[in-house]
């Protein structure tokens, strides 16, 4: 009798052990005391985040991007010296340079690994207005698999679509256009769709995960519609959706930033109904856009305390629980969504981007 009249079952999360709150199950359930702030962040970090290994990239000029492959075994770097380099990385710290890819005629801005089910494939984009897809035919022998040179200005960003959709690449350029390249395995050709996206230029593109976010219970497990997010020089973050007539349309325009949007990143979905997008801008703000399910309104949360720093890049961890923001204050800050009622994002760590402080 008393059991059933008990209004709710709760368990207490006490901040004893960071980063994961411990779970003390009050059993049988008792009424919780008020004011038990279950998710107060406690910065009692046992383990350190010091640098465990350093890779000398041997690049002769600035590095612009590093990306790990699917298995986190290999690291691709690209640089203003127009090369892409591949390293083998291991926890033990032995970082072996594997190969160097030359072919771009300008600084290479971004690299991106395709899913391994398509083979060993890297895409790169460059100042020379080209998008090149490289394929490793023999071990450490990379050859040009596809080249697209129809952009009219520097190609600033590339992103592979989730592998469930096939081998699809989106590229955003300073000519204001986004091109979507789809590999047609039957015809062995690439299909290209280009649309105008942002006036002045596109600075970043990022695909939405393929897992349907917030699909209805029991509904068919069809894949979510193809969507990606882009940020550009018109200060907008735009969400694009492939409509049924096979054209890309703007699904949403997210306005907040007052200067160029530098980077956008769509958080990975782990099957939760919500989607998160992080965007950072030249105006120094970083915004997390979230949508509780596919048709809901996007809401924004501005990350506090980052206003003096211009952020260059936002990057999600594999499960989307941590956001790494690298800014021009030489720090990488890690952010996590709080567990209290208003779900505020909190900075949990600040790391030096380089080891200069040591």
């Amino acid at each position: 009798m008393s059991l059933l009249s008990s209004p709710s079952l709760d368990f207490v999360i006490s901040p004893k052990h960071q980063p994961f709150s411990t779970l003390d199950i009050v059993w049988p359930p008792k009424k919780l005391k008020n004011g038990n702030n279950v998710a107060s962040t406690n910065q009692q970090i046992v383990r350190t985040s010091s640098i465990i290994s350093t890779i000398d990239s041997q690049h002769e000029d600035m590095i612009h991007d590093v990306q790990l492959d699917y298995y986190s075994k290999r690291l691709a770097t690209c640089s203003s010296d127009r090369t892409i380099k591949i390293f083998e990385v291991s926890d033990g710290g032995a970082n072996v340079p594997l190969s160097e890819i030359k072919g771009h005629e300008g600084p290479v801005w971004q690299v991106s690994w395709a899913h391994p089910k398509f083979g060993s494939i890297i895409a790169s984009c460059s100042y020379d207005r080209k998008v090149i897809v490289w394929k490793e035919n023999q071990p450490n022998q990379w050859a040009k698999f596809y080249e697209y040179d129809r952009h009219e200005s520097s190609v600033n960003s590339i992103s592979w679509a989730p592998h469930e959709f096939g081998l699809i690449l989106a590229a955003g350029s300073s000519d204001g256009k986004i091109s979507v390249h789809t590999w047609k395995p039957e015809e062995q050709t690439w299909d290209v769709a280009v649309q105008n996206a942002h006036t002045i230029g596109v600075n970043a593109v990022s695909w939405a995960p393929a897992v349907p976010a917030g699909a209805l219970v029991g509904s068919s497990p069809a894949l979510a519609p193809k969507r990606f997010v882009s940020g550009g020089c018109d200060n907008l973050v735009k969400i694009w959706k492939l409509e049924s007539d096979n054209t890309w349309r703007t699904e949403e325009k997210l306005e907040h930033h007052t200067a160029w949007v530098r980077d956008v990143a769509w958080a990975p979905s782990i099957g939760l109904p919500s989607s998160n997008i992080a965007s950072c801008s030249q105006d120094g703000t970083v915004v997390i856009w979230s949508q509780s399910n596919t048709n809901a309104q996007w809401t924004k949360k501005v990350l506090p305390g980052a206003s003096n720093v211009v952020s260059w890049r936002v990057s999600w961890s594999v499960t989307g629980n941590i956001l790494a923001i690298s800014g021009d204050d030489n720090k990488v800050t890690l952010w996590k969504e709080g567990l209290d009622a208003d779900n505020d994002w909190k900075c949990i760590e600040g790391l030096d981007a380089a080891d200069a402080a040591n």
Binding site: P28, I52, D65, E105, W109, S153, G271, R313
Partner: protein
């Protein structure tokens, strides 16, 4: 009423004497600045005058002396409060001085004789609404047509100018007239435009138009009759443009859509057409009507929207010369000479027209021989071209070499000195530098791409225009700009690159639009490592000014990197000094402590190869000891240099050049770090590799939980250990709540209703943590059922029956999909970790694994009942009304307002367990069916179906479904049947 005012409103910045005009203006391309608001222009029949009609009235400019102030007529603003919207000269030579103008509802006819405007007559209240157009008849010098928004088209006879008579009046009835034009061949034909329609009238038939042509969907802005073909006219509109023959109303051609065209006029020569875009376009285009794919000529030069244009033609040297007179909002009247070449292009009938490239601007300013200039004083002490050319010999911009100059022929040839040879010829029109810009053309060998060429010509023309508008010479400035642009192109393209090798990438990117590339970043790996890099270290100077805030564009970065930084911008604080020293001296035996206070004016670094000297000439830099000699670090990733640029000019912009030099030492003024650092942040990640390796997910649930709790303990994850212990206790059949024993008996927690809610709460918690590992593993572990200890059915108050005997797990069945997603995503992480066995184990639990990968229809059958009376499917869709739960189950037919599914035996509605035959579709209550088929083999309805053999043979699938009347989804992995199975009951 109206007064004549000389010179009013017409101002020219300079009025050159007309003695230099040995050549008539008809063969020149000129620009005249007229500070007036002008709506309409018209050229008279003799080609001598142009009349400008606008806000203030009329003014006439003698085109032979365009810089002379013309005659103006300011209208009395009290009586004429409307702007003049249309002007038209009488096309007949003997009535040439007659101008018709329209302002609002009034039409006025003026006689421009004796250098004066004389009002001939006013056609007051000629229309009820504003007059939109008027046209003099080309055959009857006394006939004037006006049209108005009031839908009427009136014909006026002004034989006696004092008494104009309305001769005829046509009514368009439905829509206001926007244009009226006389046919050039048939004196009786008149065309008018009404919205999207063209009506062609015979002026002898007032009642109705002779022809209707529904030409456009949108409003027609302009029409014009052909010079050649009586039946051809052009219409232009928002949507497209085309011709019609009014004989059979066939559209002869359509220009490409996309540009809305305000006016289109046939060329008086050849088969050309000139179009004027409606907005956002400062260019006139000339087309050959036989090839409308691309214009044959752009008339570029106006800096604002062109609002009116007209043709001027005169006889000169025995041939007929044509000139296009345009007026733009930039308050310039421009005359464009149509040279014979262009006339030829329009006249030509071949399709090769399309091959003629887009003409560059320099064609518009043809070289015209002219004797010595007689310029009066000009700024900068340069009085004329002669002086300017002399000046050029003394003062030439860097990298520019003058090859040839000729005052007599008015041209200069220059070469840009550099890695590639670029030759440019600059030609000066006779009026230069008075509103006549020089022309630029490349002479062979041309090493630039056409894109670059046009870009350069465009930029140079802009610069030149800027100067000549103020009557200033512009040669030096243009050459300077030319030099700069060539340098810039070489920077980007590399010195030796041929245009053909990289066809598209040769034009230069606009670095102002390219965002500053990322020079620092952080990315996560799948294993929870964070890889970071930072090429340049920034610091905040004391004022809090963040120096990288300027690095918005790529150009900013290039500037930042190429310019030696002062201590203010790169260094400035103690921290950054430390950083600085770190980069400069790392790996060296430099161990001196750095002090912030000791001021160091100079540091000397001696590199291993070259002697480098880095001089920081500000006193803010604080590195001690004051002067020391260090050997440069040979560490390859520390690429440090100071003002090396001062010593080695060639390397200065090395990093900006796209070339193919195999080894390039990047030389920048900013210390650069090309290391990549990796950190292990897996402790921040919810998922853990070791746990993934050790977790058990199947087996005895209690034992499994114990094991997992131990694993967590070993990994120092007390939080997870606790949850596993809690789950273990829930699942242990021997643990129960002693408080409730009395009331409910020994209910294990696994069967206690509160457990489900607890687990839901646990799942919710880990969802918020995005702990995919725990979610997935827990969901799999809970699929393992605790051993059954009892089969008793517990009744807890009046709630649902808990049946421990059913194989139902403790998981929330409504969230199966979510659990599958967790498992799938966790499986992907395991795949990334290459724990393939573990992955396979997890995937075994996903129910929809096969469905996500395969076509959905290949593995599932769905049944839905069909109402036996109305034959409607009783699914949830399309079945409205009635109790909701029945509707969804498909038991109730809302159409017939009765139960849709009745037992074949007892004829009562079936709501519970039902069975039916897949072959004949008959069925009913499971109990009745079982009773019937225990003895019989055929259908109880007598339909003859051998139901037992049809359904229960073979695989032995049991078609006994629970819950409701027959809607049931069941997966039959070995079948490939899909679609709907419908049943009928008799």
């Amino acid at each position: 009423m109206s007064s004549l005012m000389q010179e009013e409103g017409l101002t020219l910045s300079r009025i050159p004497s007309n003695s230099y005009l040995d050549e008539p203006t008809i063969t020149q391309t000129l620009a005249v600045n007229v500070k007036k608001a002008v709506n309409a222009i018209a050229v008279d029949a003799t080609g001598k005058y142009v009349v400008l009609g606008g806000k203030k009235g009329l003014s006439v400019i003698d085109l032979d002396e365009p810089y002379e102030p013309g005659r103006s007529l300011a209208l009395d603003s009290k009586q004429n409060k409307w702007e003049i919207s249309v002007v038209e000269w009488n096309p007949h030579k003997d009535r040439a001085p007659y101008i018709a103008s329209a302002a609002n509802q009034d039409t006025q006819v003026w006689n421009l004789s004796d250098e004066r405007f004389e009002l001939q007559c006013t056609l007051t209240q000629s229309h009820q609404r504003a007059i939109s157009d008027l046209a003099w008849s080309l055959f009857d010098k006394n006939l004037l047509a006006t049209c108005s928004a009031d839908t009427y088209i009136n014909l006026w006879d002004i034989r006696d100018p004092k008494r104009a008579i309305k001769k005829e009046s046509f009514c368009g009835w439905t829509a206001g007239a926007t244009q009226v034009k006389w046919n050039r061949h048939n004196p009786m034909a008149l065309a008018s435009a009404h919205n999207g329609e063209v009506r062609i009238w015979d002026i002898r038939k007032v009642a109705a138009p002779q022809t209707f042509i529904t030409a456009h969907m949108a409003k027609i802005y302009g029409i014009d009759w052909s010079y050649h073909d009586e039946g051809e006219l052009v219409t232009c509109s928002e949507d497209k443009q085309f011709w019609n023959t009014n004989n059979n109303r066939v559209c002869k051609g359509t220009m490409l859509p996309g540009v809305s065209i305000l006016r289109a006029k046939y060329t008086p020569f050849g088969y050309g057409l000139v179009t004027m875009a409606q907005r956002n376009d400062h260019t006139l285009r000339m087309w050959n009507i036989r090839d409308l794919t691309s214009p044959i000529r752009h008339f570029t030069g106006h800096t604002d929207v062109i609002t009116a244009f007209d043709w001027r033609c005169r006889m000169y040297n025995g041939s007929k010369e044509y000139q296009l007179v345009t007026w733009s909002k930039d308050q310039h009247l421009r005359l464009w000479y149509i040279d014979k070449n262009l006339q030829e292009m329009v006249t030509r009938q071949t399709s090769a027209i399309a091959m003629i490239p887009k003409a560059s601007e320099d064609d518009q300013t043809p070289l015209t021989a002219s004797p010595v200039d007689k310029f009066s004083d000009t700024p900068y002490g340069i009085k004329n071209l002669q002086q300017e050319l002399m000046m050029l010999e003394k003062r030439v911009p860097q990298h520019i070499q003058v090859i040839q100059n000729s005052l007599a022929d008015r041209f200069v040839s220059v070469r840009v000195v550099g890695s590639r040879e670029v030759n440019v010829k600059i030609t000066f029109p006779s009026l230069y530098p008075n509103l006549a810009p020089p022309g630029f053309s490349f002479t062979p060998p041309v090493t630039l791409t056409t894109q670059n060429q046009s870009r350069i010509v465009e930029a140079l023309s802009d610069t030149a225009m800027f100067h000549v508008e103020n009557n200033r010479p512009c040669l030096f400035q243009c050459l300077q700009q030319l030099s700069d642009m060539i340098q810039e192109i070489e920077e980007v393209e590399g010195p030796t690159q041929q245009a053909s090798s990289v066809p598209r990438a040769t034009t230069q990117n606009n670095n102002d639009d390219i965002p500053c590339p990322r020079i620092c970043g952080a990315v996560f790996s799948a294993t929870g490592h964070l890889f970071t890099f930072q090429n340049i270290k920034f610091s905040r100077s004391r004022g809090g000014y963040n120096n990288s805030g300027r690095l918005k564009t790529y150009r900013d970065l290039k500037l930042f990197m190429s310019k030696p930084q002062t201590s203010e911008t790169v260094m400035g604080t103690e921290e950054s000094s430390a950083f600085f020293s770190n980069y400069f001296y790392s790996g060296q035996n430099y161990t001196q402590h750095l002090s912030h206070q000791i001021s160091t004016p100079q540091i000397e670094l001696h590199g291993s190869n070259d002697s480098m000297h880095i001089d920081f000439d500000t006193s803010n830099l604080s590195i001690s000891p004051p002067t020391q000699t260090y050997s440069m670090s040979s560490d390859p990733h520390l690429r440090v240099s100071g003002q090396i640029a001062l010593f080695n000019d060639n390397d200065f912009d090395d990093d900006l050049i796209i070339g193919s030099s195999p080894v390039r030492k990047s030389v920048t003024a900013v210390p650069m770090n090309t290391n990549i650092y990796s950190r292990d942040l897996s402790y921040l990640m919810p998922q853990n590799y070791q746990l993934a390796r050790s977790y058990k997910i199947s087996g005895d649930i209690a034992e499994l939980c114990r094991h997992n709790a131990q694993v967590c303990m070993a990994e120092d994850r007390k939080d997870l250990q606790q949850i596993w212990r809690a789950v273990g206790e829930i699942m242990d059949p021997l643990v129960y709540n002693p408080d409730e024993k009395v009331m409910l008996g020994n209910i294990p927690w696994s069967q206690h209703p509160i457990t489900r809610r607890l687990l839901q709460s646990v799942f919710k918690h880990y969802e918020r943590l995005r702990d995919i590992q725990t979610l997935a593993v827990l969901s799999c572990a809970l699929e393992n059922l605790p051993p059954n200890t009892t089969t008793t059915t517990y009744n807890i108050r009046q709630s649902n029956v808990v049946t421990p005997s059913s194989r139902r797990t403790l998981l929330d069945s409504t969230k199966k999909d979510s659990y599958d997603k967790y498992r799938l995503y966790y499986a992907e992480i395991l795949f990334r970790w290459q724990l393939l066995d573990k992955r396979a184990e997890i995937l075994k639990f996903t129910q929809q694994n096969s469905r996500t990968n395969q076509d959905k229809s290949s593995s599932a059958i769905e049944f839905t009942p069909v109402c036996l009376r109305c034959n409607r499917m009783l699914g949830s869709e399309g079945n409205r009304g009635g109790p909701k739960e029945l509707r969804e189950d498909g038991v109730y037919c809302t159409n017939c307002r009765d139960w849709g599914f009745k037992c074949i035996i007892c004829h009562l509605a079936v709501k519970g367990s039902s069975s039916f035959c897949l072959v004949c579709g008959h069925g009913g209550h499971t109990k009745h069916m079982n009773e019937w088929f225990s003895e019989e083999f055929t259908c109880p309805t007598g339909c003859g179906c051998s139901c037992i053999h049809g359904n229960f043979r073979g695989e032995g699938h049991e078609l006994v479904f629970r819950n409701g009347g027959g809607f049931m989804e069941r997966r039959l992995d070995d079948t490939r049947i899909s679609g709907y199975m419908s049943r009928q009951l008799s």
